[in-house]
Amino acid sequence: MRGIIPFVAGAAIALSAGWAGFPYAIYKSRPQPVDFSHRVHAEKAGAKCEDCHAFRNDGTFAGIPSLDKCTGCHAAAMGTTAAEKNFIDQYVTPQREPQWAAYARQPENVFFSHIAHVKLGQVKCETCHGDQGSTDKLPRYQEDRISGYSRDIWGTAGRPGMTMDNCVDCHRKQKLEREHSCLECHK
């Protein structure tokens, strides 16, 4: 019976290290360059998702807006918060693009068409991006030290991930029957 103690101890240490310690080891974390509030923009400015994350005329998706878009309203400070002052001083005044970290960055060999999903498929932004649009603070960006991808691609409770399995699952649920067409998504 005493012989099982080292085995159990080893298993317990491995389990605790694997579940509690591993995420800290595998991910490095950094804040976004600007303390941005989606909620403030949505509630106070009445902005909708597509006002900033717009489609271009040719149907391509603009993604994260550039500084030009921000300075359309923030040419001068709008408010007295520290975040606003930091944004004006660090980026607007020197005309320096914020180096946003994209939570949903896809691999180079993947072509994802936003317009096909949003306009044709009527998929809401929240379906893939969760409640990002109503948060008051951007979460820290957690980057996998080995793969280089964001931790967010694995999904969270209530929000599916953005892996190929997640894409295929959703397409199967919608009975789109296109999951076997490699070149639909892969370059």
Partner: protein, 619 residues
């Protein structure tokens, strides 16, 4: 408590089991796989603004309109506009990165050597330009350049003098033309396909034969030196000047087949007869059928500036005296029809200077002293001559989608400079001449509009052409009808004219000799060479290289044999062998194919020809 080795192993075992129930090992496996996607050397798609650019494909004379999806300045995908693109056209944006691409050449040395040779050219010696794709604006520059030098010659493969209109045809008799396999403008041919009945006459079941409404196995095909006679017999049978049985004897076709063919061509008109080169005999047959002005007419050309018309005419290589060319400059920068080097070599003087302008070294570059690198589609700025099925005159430019690398040579500038022509932008001058003529329509693919040229300013006309638009003469059809028989093609009886000999066909007297000779006598040549006809441009090294790499079709370095013949020659599929005729032998790779008829060796060529007297020898 003491630590024993057993305890340590139990601890490690427990750790391993425990670890399996955590995400750590599984995530490490996944992450390692993802990390491997980002290894150095793995191609990365370009990033940047996505734009659409329009141009025209210059790989062949079809000149298909192309929409290029570009990321920044880099084209990443090509697609057809209002029609498809062939596999070559779809992947043409990869051509500049071909590993065999020529990137540098002895430009200064070549210029000096050519200048010296021109200066020392004797009174009976010639300076010549060989243009593999005549009919371009560049061709006009070469002709002007050769007109301005002493004893200048402009050499080029023969251009068709007629254009065909498949849309008007109800019955088409194709004498071995690869009508449904890259002939003319393939998209237009297939668009018109439902409107006509196609009868394909050739000895092999080509792709066109397989897709035709009727395939006539013509064992004595046109090209075996008897084509004019056969076609003349067919024409006379149509006109009732010869009985069907007489025509059958001459053509080698069964009498009932001749009868049904004659009936079909006469009753289900307008009819059209085509072959690979639109030879005079075929044109004459069309005239007999009453097709002139309906399905066939003179070829139209876009206007050129008046000052260009003092240009050297095209000279047939065969007409040039042997050992008389002192300087030969060959433009093979665009795919075109190749002339055998043996026929060129005997025309060269002993101290001839030969320069080839080419993106690769596999073509004439193997024989030239100077090989100068050129831009390749889609880097090169060039215009595209009209295809055989282009009834109206047209002008379209292959506008560059990417910048050529440094060190590329423009053959037009080099040759014009060597001949002392003043530097000019010939394409722009020609566009201005077309605009000045004031007729025709500008078709822009970016917005799908057609605008009469007279409503467009010269500057906008030029800009549109460089953005992939094309000019089409508005006198479509009218010119064909107006020219009619008075064009001269219908006047003299072209049936008596001889057809240009097939490039790979043996002379008739040779073809009939020696067949069946036994051991000890003359060499025994048991096989008949049958040439699979193919659009001329596909024989270019530029594209045949792709054939050789892909093996999708019979490449120019390959032959096909029936398994029985391969076995009797002791040759396996894929083996290297010599294809031997009385004229010589060349190394080939053998494809064993049961669809090839026994006794036949199938090779690739530009015309449908057959000649007896060949054998395949195992290396």
């Amino acid at each position: 408590m003491t630590t024993t080795r057993r305890g340590l192993l139990q601890f490690l075992g427990g750790s391993a089991v425990g670890a399996l129930f955590t995400p750590a090992p599984w995530r490490l496996i996944t992450d390692t796989a993802l990390w491997s996607e980002n290894w150095p050397g793995i191609p990365r798609p370009a990033r940047g603004e996505i734009r659409a650019k329009f141009t025209n494909c210059s790989l062949c004379t079809a000149g298909c309109a192309v929409r290029a999806r570009s990321v920044g300045d880099q084209p990443v995908a090509l697609a057809g506009v209002a029609g498809g693109l062939c596999p070559f056209g779809l992947t043409a944006h990869h051509l500049p990165y071909h590993p065999a691409r020529l990137k540098q050449g002895p430009v200064k040395e070549a210029a000096a050597a050519v200048a010296d040779a021109i200066a020392q050219c004797g009174p009976s010696e010639h300076v010549a330009v060989l243009d593999l794709r005549p009919g371009r604006t560049a061709s006009w520059t070469y002709r002007r350049a050769m007109a301005s030098v002493h004893n200048g010659l402009y050499l080029a493969p023969p251009e068709p003098t007629v254009a065909v209109n498949l849309r008007n045809a109800k019955t088409v008799l194709s004498l071995g033309a690869p009508l449904l396999d890259g002939w003319g403008t393939p998209a237009d041919v297939f668009a018109a396909r439902d409107g006509f009945r196609l009868i394909q006459a050739e000895p092999i079941e080509s792709r066109t034969a397989a897709l035709a409404d009727q395939w006539i196995v013509w064992d004595r095909p046109p090209g075996l030196s008897a084509d004019a006679t056969s076609l003349s017999a067919l024409a006379q049978a149509i006109a009732g000047e010869m009985t069907v049985s007489e025509a059958a004897t001459i053509t080698g076709l069964p009498a009932d087949q001749i009868q049904s063919l004659v009936k079909e061509l006469k009753d289900n008109g307008p009819a059209l007869v085509v072959d690979s080169e639109m030879s005079p005999a075929v044109v004459a047959l069309n005239v007999r059928l009453g097709s002139w002005g309906r399905t066939i007419g003179p070829r139209q050309e876009a206007p050129v500036p008046e000052s260009w018309k003092k240009a050297a005419p095209r000279t047939d290589l065969a007409a040039v005296p042997d050992r008389s060319i002192r300087v030969l400059l060959i433009d093979e920068s665009t795919p075109g029809e190749y002339l055998p080097w043996e026929s060129i070599e005997k025309k060269l003087a002993a101290n001839a200077v030969v320069g080839a302008f080419a993106p690769w070294t596999q073509g004439y570059g193997r024989h030239a002293q100077y090989v100068l690198p050129t831009a390749v589609y889609p880097e090169a700025l060039d215009d595209i001559p009209p295809a055989i099925d282009s009834v109206a005159a047209a002008f379209r430019i292959a506008a560059p989608l990417v910048a050529p690398p440094a060190g590329m040579v423009s053959p037009v500038e080099f040759i014009a400079g060597a001949a002392g022509l003043p530097a000019s932008d010939a394409l722009r001058e020609r566009a201005d001449a077309i605009h000045k003529a004031g007729r025709g329509t500008l078709v822009t693919y970016a917005d799908g509009k057609s605008i009469p040229v007279k409503d467009v300013k010269p500057e906008d006309f030029w800009k549109s052409l460089n953005a992939g638009a094309r000019w089409v003469d508005g006198a479509l059809g009218a010119a064909v009808a107006a020219a009619g028989v008075a064009s001269g093609l219908g006047g003299a009886d072209p049936l008596v004219r001889s057809r240009p000999p097939g490039r790979l066909s043996a002379p008739a007297q040779q073809a009939d000799e020696g067949v069946g000779s036994g051991p000890g006598g003359p060499p025994h040549y048991p096989l008949t060479i049958v040439t699979e006809s193919r659009a001329a441009f596909l024989s270019s090294p530029l594209l045949s290289q792709i054939y050789q790499e892909s093996n999708l079709r019979l490449a120019p370095n390959r032959i096909a044999l029936h398994p029985t013949d391969a076995a009797s020659s002791g040759i396996a599929d894929g083996a290297h062998a010599f294809l031997e005729t009385r004229d010589g032998k060349r190394e080939v790779q053998v494809t064993v194919d049961s669809s090839v008829r026994p006794g036949v060796v199938l090779v690739v060529g530009q015309t449908d020809t057959a000649s007896s007297g060949a054998k395949v020898v195992r290396i």
